[in-house]
């Protein structure tokens, strides 16, 4: 590209906006450093651009703290979206209620021990999405758990849970046990039940 006598408005403005191609910039930038006429026109465009920016800045009014409100709305929307997705999954695979019912029944019939979670002392703490901690024990959140349900006074039941039920709920083990026989097996797990008697989470203790 030859060095022009003076730059066009298009080039001057694109130079201001950092929109020149590398080839154009190679010629334009040195010219702008030495040509007073082009520097002056460039300054005019910069000044005008600044005035537009100032005008637009006055339009919004004073700032306000709305971030917290947005964070709350996002959380509500995400929960409702997740509930819809979970419900679609449940309809698709039909395991949700079956697992909930089997765990609830087993809680009555097969408890090895039951202990209530101490309500005081902040023993229940959300540690990350999908996992939560109760009494220092990490539980995997079960999909039909009610996210709005208080976990202030749940209880934990230790029981044998069929591997097949857990697999149907999306919880699988690696290395995968060999075929159907593996699915017939049970694992010892702590199941956390909420105040409504529905299982909230599961923590596998051992394969015994």
């Amino acid at each position: 590209m030859n060095t022009p006598d003076h730059l066009t408005n298009d080039l001057l403005i694109r130079a201001l906006d950092d929109e020149l191609t590398p080839e154009e910039a190679e010629v334009i930038d040195p010219h702008l450093r030495v040509c007073e006429a082009c520097k002056g026109r460039s300054a005019e465009f910069r000044f005008l651009s600044g005035k537009i920016e100032s005008l637009v800045a006055t339009a919004a009014g004073p700032a306000a703290a709305q971030r917290q409100a947005l964070a709350h709305k996002l959380e509500t929307q995400a929960r409702s979206s997740l509930a819809r997705r979970s419900s679609r999954l449940a309809l698709g695979f039909g395991w949700t209620m079956a697992l909930a019912a089997s765990l609830a029944l087993m809680a009555v019939l097969l408890p090895r021990w039951i202990h209530p979670v101490k309500p005081a002392g902040n023993t229940v703490a959300q540690v990350q999405s999908g996992m939560f901690e109760v009494d220092g024990e990490n539980f995997i959140l079960l999909p039909y758990s009610n996210p709005d349900l208080s976990t202030a006074a749940p209880h934990i039941v230790q029981m044998q849970v069929p591997v097949g039920s857990l697999a149907a709920a999306g919880i699988t083990f690696e290395p995968v046990s060999n075929g159907a026989q593996g699915m017939d097996r049970s694992v010892l797990a702590d199941v956390l039940f909420g105040m409504d008697g529905q299982p909230l989470g599961v923590h596998v203790v051992s394969l015994d």
Partner: protein, 186 residues
């Protein structure tokens, strides 16, 4: 006997979704911190009152969450946000067109009050300059005005083109002609 340590939980669909939702919310709040003021200015400059501009901007970010959770395209989210804001603002204007006849009439009235240290005379001069600029911008074509306002918020030509559904070269022409016209008028 297999030890508990050899067990690895995997494939919990809802867990993945929850983790993804959290990551999406974090991404959105980061975008909000970066873009909300510029977006609000842009929407307000389109003639929307400040309170409605707040609502429109929040709506943009809620729509962004829906978009991301539906695994929408993540390239150039800034242009995506401005496009949604632009459309929401235009829809809002259509709904209230009968009560709002002057596109930019309220822009200066909605602005921050002048600093207390300014004298009344300085305030008046500042207002007059803003009004003059406002009148000059009103004389531009809508495309020139939109391009210049988006440019004033730091959008690149490619992003402006995405927001307004124009080609990059048309954006460049609108910006050039808009600035040339303003230079003549002021």
């Amino acid at each position: 006997m297999e030890s508990v340590g050899n067990l690895a939980m995997a494939g919990a669909v809802w867990e993945t979704d929850l983790l993804e939702d959290t990551s999406v919310q974090r991404l959105i709040l980061e975008q909000y911190d970066r873009e909300q003021l510029s977006l609000r200015r842009y929407v307000a400059f389109l003639g929307i009152d400040p309170e409605t501009a707040f609502e429109i901007v929040q709506e943009c970010f809620l729509k962004l969450q829906e978009h991301l959770l539906a695994r929408g395209d993540r390239t150039n989210l800034r242009a995506w946000l401005y496009r949604v804001a632009h459309n929401l603002a235009r829809n809002s204007q259509s709904a209230f067109r009968s009560s709002r006849t002057d596109f930019l009439a309220d822009v200066t009235l909605a602005g921050d009050p002048p600093a207390r240290s300014n004298s009344a005379e300085q305030d008046l001069l500042a207002r007059e300059r803003l009004d003059l600029m406002n009148s000059a911008i009103q004389a531009l074509s809508p495309a020139q005005r939109d391009c210049l306002v988006l440019r004033s918020q730091g959008l690149k030509y490619r992003e402006i083109a995405d927001v307004l559904n124009l080609s990059t070269s048309t954006v460049g022409e609108n910006i050039q002609r808009g600035l040339e016209k303003l230079k003549e008028l002021l």
